[in-house]
């Protein structure tokens, strides 16, 4: 039995969706369309002479080994950020869900880092890890370990992953906690009566019931790692050392805004657009089938 509300005629529905359509058109389709248009040109920075080059910008990109490298870097970076930020958030949410006293305070404190903008998070962490003045790098130095993310690729990647994870855990925590609290306690109690211990209950009942939340968060976190981590990378590594932390979106910035190569930058944005579209379709098409709603 499905209940459906429907309107007669077309005027009112059209009127009601117009604002949404307008916003989408002005803020999404227009800029995206401009990027696609520009990706076919090789303009000079001032826009004085704009030459049509067809797909030459894309050719140029795919013949560039550093661009391919950037794909690989992005894949590693976003997988790590998604995995860690969701794993830690789930663990904390499960613990917070079982709290009886002080749950409110604990939950509120955990949400704080979300209020910190990525660029600020990057700077805060530099107080700890700056190669010369950072607190933790100083102590590591005393222990005989020379922390240098300016030259060590793994340390650089580890650091940007850690900061990006840290500033994302709160967001995931919030959703996981809400998801956990939405699971009817009767099911869990029934399982407990049947003799299932906590971890068994978690893996066989709670985790599957949580899968809509988990699925939603995977999409959100991948998108976050792709785009919103720009501030973290810009303040900590600037894509270095070498290009070891140059993720795709950072390359769009450095080619477009530092290199003033708008054609290539636009072509890269188009590729990013396609990747994100593809990821979303993939997740909805295939992952959705295995998700309990």
């Amino acid at each position: 039995m499905e209940k459906r509300v429907y309107f007669k005629g077309w005027f009112l529905p059209a009127l009601l969706i117009t604002p949404q359509l307008l916003i989408t058109a002005i803020f999404f389709f227009y800029p995206a369309g401009t990027a696609i248009w520009w990706s076919l040109f090789n303009p000079d920075p001032f826009g004085l002479s704009t030459k049509f080059v067809g797909f030459a910008n894309f050719d140029f990109l795919f013949s560039d080994p550093y661009y391919k490298e950037s794909f690989y870097t992005t894949a590693i970076f976003s997988s790590l950020v998604t995995l860690f930020s969701m794993g830690i958030a789930l663990y904390l949410a499960v613990l917070a869900d079982r709290l009886i006293k002080g749950a409110g305070i604990y939950q509120t404190l955990l949400i704080w880092p979300y209020a910190v903008a990525p660029a600020i998070a990057g700077i805060l962490w530099m107080f700890l890890f700056d190669t010369r003045t950072g607190l933790i790098s100083w102590y590591l130095g005393l222990l005989g370990y020379d922390w240098n993310h300016l030259l060590n690729h793994n340390e650089a990647m580890g650091l940007v992953v850690a900061v990006s994870t840290w500033s994302r855990v709160s967001y995931n925590f919030l959703f996981f906690l809400a998801g956990l609290q939405a699971i009817p306690s009767t099911i869990i109690e029934a399982a407990a009566i049947d003799g299932a211990r906590f971890w068994r209950r978690f893996w066989t009942i709670v985790f599957p019931l949580l899968s809509p939340t988990t699925f939603f968060l995977v999409v959100m976190n991948v998108v976050y790692a792709f785009f919103d981590t720009f501030g973290v990378i810009h303040t900590i590594t600037k894509g270095g050392p070498g290009q070891s932390t140059t993720i795709l979106v950072y390359k769009v910035y450095s080619d477009g805004f530092v290199g003033l190569d708008l054609g290539s930058s636009a072509a890269q944005s188009v590729i990013l657009l396609i990747i994100v579209g593809f990821l979303t379709i993939l997740q909805f098409k295939f992952v959705e089938k295995r998700v309990h709603y």
């Binding site: 000079d44 004085l48 140029f60 300016l150 270095g240 290199g259």
Partner: protein
């Protein structure tokens, strides 16, 4: 009715008053300076505004050098651009190629009938912003050149004579050995690695950085900074990095923090580091000439400049350009120039300012502040030591940074890193050439 008349006449009066107050033509100047440099810049503007009433210069900071250039370009595309835009030396080729966006400085000056003598500028500075046919396109504002900063106390602590000869890299190498073995944690650090250790190194040893006179003679230039001299130097630096004698601090001037804190013994940085080091260093410091490799023919030649120049953008009225001309002549006047040089450590870009500073006894009471000027002007620049004019150069520098980092971390040899940087950079030069043809 009467009330309405009153209001109208009041409005008219207000209009007239504000009319007189606003009759000064506004000249907008976008720049990249903050902190002490920003304050000094604002003082120059205030001084100009106070000295006359026809024009009012309004200065605005738009971020760092790259961001300022970007802001200018975006504004130009939106037809809301300022009259004067500060562009760092790296962006010179980009601006020169943008023929319809700029109004060459010589043209601004001659149309306004302003007093302007291009020959008043010192050679290497003038050359940087002048076309091969002798037309000066932008007004040199702040120019500096790299020098060697020495922490004399660190030398004493290591048992070295702080007055020792540090004119060659061979001698610096020996000092680094001693500093390291005596327990110094940061014998040498640097700012702007590509600018100091490749661009200036090349000019200083009279070897080409790029073909076609480093790009001055044509956009079909190719990078050639992978010759034996550059490889030798970068390899030596790489070895020092491996042995803990050269400490890499970052791509810009991050090394300055450690040097000013007294941790580092030697620091290669722009002469304009003077303001900050003088203010913060709690140790005995000294400025020396940039070292060179003994045995390289023609070395030391001269070093080249870094810094910025002021570009006048096209599309404004004649009246406004007169104001721009008046302001630029004001900026290049000896008093302003001499004060700027003495306060900041930037080079005196006009000959008169240099003589004025010398006469005032400034160099005697601030020893070493004349080193940068001497280093740049003691020899007539050759075709490969007058500067660089390369498109997409900010991005090419980024590539050089990446390749140098792989040498400092020991992942690559200097030879393979420089070969790779040349190869990668040339791709961008061809792309720049094709988009500006």
């Amino acid at each position: 009715m009467i009330q309405a008349k009153k209001i109208v006449s009041m409005v008219l009066m207000i209009g007239m008053f504000s009319g007189t107050a606003l009759s000064a033509t506004e000249i907008h100047w976008w720049h990249a300076f903050k902190g002490r440099l920003g304050t000094l810049l604002a003082e120059q503007v205030d001084q100009f505004n106070a000295a006359q009433s026809d024009y009012k210069v309004i200065q605005n900071r738009k971020g760092n050098y790259s961001e300022t250039l970007n802001a200018g370009i975006a504004a130009f595309r939106a037809k809301k651009h300022p009259h004067i835009l500060m562009v760092f030396e790296v962006g010179t080729a980009t601006m020169m190629a943008a023929k319809g966006a700029i109004k060459p400085m010589y043209e601004v000056m001659s149309e306004a009938g302003a007093k302007f003598d291009p020959d008043g500028f010192i050679g290497p500075v003038k050359g940087y912003y002048t076309t091969t046919t002798g037309e000066m396109l932008s007004m040199p504002y702040n120019s500096s050149t790299p020098v060697l900063w020495v922490n004399r106390d660190a030398f004493k602590k290591a048992g070295l004579n702080p007055d020792m000869d540090l004119s060659t890299w061979q001698k610096v190498g020996a000092a680094l050995d001693k500093l390291k073995s005596s327990g110094n944690k940061c014998p040498l650090t640097t700012a702007w690695q590509s600018w100091v250790h490749l661009e200036n190194l090349s000019a200083y040893h009279n070897v080409a950085f790029a073909t076609k006179e480093n790009g001055f003679a044509g956009m079909d230039t190719e990078l050639v900074f992978n010759s034996p001299v550059q490889i030798k130097h970068i390899q030596a630096m790489g070895n020092w990095a491996k042995e803990g004698k050269f400490i890499y601090a970052g791509r810009r001037n991050e090394g300055g923090k450690a040097f000013r804190a007294g941790e580092c013994a030697l620091y290669t940085e722009s002469s304009a580091g003077y303001a900050g080091i003088k203010k913060n260093a709690k140790f005995d410091f000294e400025i020396r000439h940039l070292p060179y490799w003994e045995g390289v023919k023609g070395a030391p030649q001269n070093t080249i400049i870094g810094g910025s120049s002021l570009w006048v953008l096209s599309g404004h009225s004649t009246k406004e350009y007169s104001g721009v001309a008046a302001f630029l002549s004001f900026l290049s006047s000896p008093v302003i120039q001499a004060a700027w040089h003495q306060n900041t450590g930037y080079l005196p870009v006009t000959l008169v300012a240099s003589q004025k500073t010398k006469k005032s006894g400034f160099y005697d009471s601030n020893p070493g502040t004349d080193i940068a000027g001497i280093q740049m002007t003691r020899k007539t620049p050759t075709s490969v030591s007058k500067g660089l004019r390369l498109g997409s150069f900010d991005q090419i520098r980024g590539m050089i940074d990446e390749e140098l980092e792989s040498v400092w971390s020991g992942k690559k040899t200097a030879k393979s890193a420089l070969n790779n940087a040349v190869k990668r950079g040339n791709v961008l030069l061809r792309r720049f050439e094709s988009s500006n043809r």
